[in-house]
Symmetry: C2
Subunit: 138 residues, 2 copies
Amino acid sequence: MPSRTQDLAAVLEANSAFYTAFSQRDAAAMAKLWASHLPVVCVHPGWPPLLDRADVIQSWQRIFANPDQPDLRQMKERAFLLGDFALVVCLEVLPNATLVATNTFARESGSWRMVHHQSSPLSMESLEEEEPPAELRN
Amino acid sequence: MPSRTQDLAAVLEANSAFYTAFSQRDAAAMAKLWASHLPVVCVHPGWPPLLDRADVIQSWQRIFANPDQPDLRQMKERAFLLGDFALVVCLEVLPNATLVATNTFARESGSWRMVHHQSSPLSMESLEEEEPPAELRN
């Protein structure tokens, strides 16, 4: 039985693997990250929600095949453990925008697999006017 | 021990209670819906993530106090049960925009309480150009 600290580290590692797959445009690695048996939900910025694993995997293939897809880097990730589930909230910094992402993981066959991703733009106003919450400052 | 069907009904009821609290601008009802002991995460459209229960509750008080806050209605909700955790995805229809929301609930002291909400705009393009996924058609 892994400890809470081990679980949190494993969840943050799964979250990093997600962004590594993204930056390497590695559709096979991305597919492996998503849960195989549990339901999955993916909400790309502006898109209708994808609720079927095949649609989710295909969406990443389409995104990775797009030569205009900008690189992004994740920042300020925070993980919250809720038993066999975990929420990770982080910022996704693109050249011309910053997004807020929630990545949800569940324990499936002993590994932390992604069951949900939603990413949506942070308004420039909130970046300029407000101090980020203390929890998000590095 | 509630059955899967009872759990799904209870989760959808909690999701409806969330939108009832929203439409009635009922900050007390909204506060009761959010988990008390588990960590909570709330991402309003364009806002930085709120990771502290007091900040989440206060954000709803501010939203409800805003006379320009438009009414919304939820549509096409779909719930996914993952043990003691549940994801609900739905559309939030405002007069001039449609948002996609993920509402995440966890069992806390026998009730389904909200632990996460993220709501973000659906692009008009995706509304006009794409068929919604089969699962989201009513």
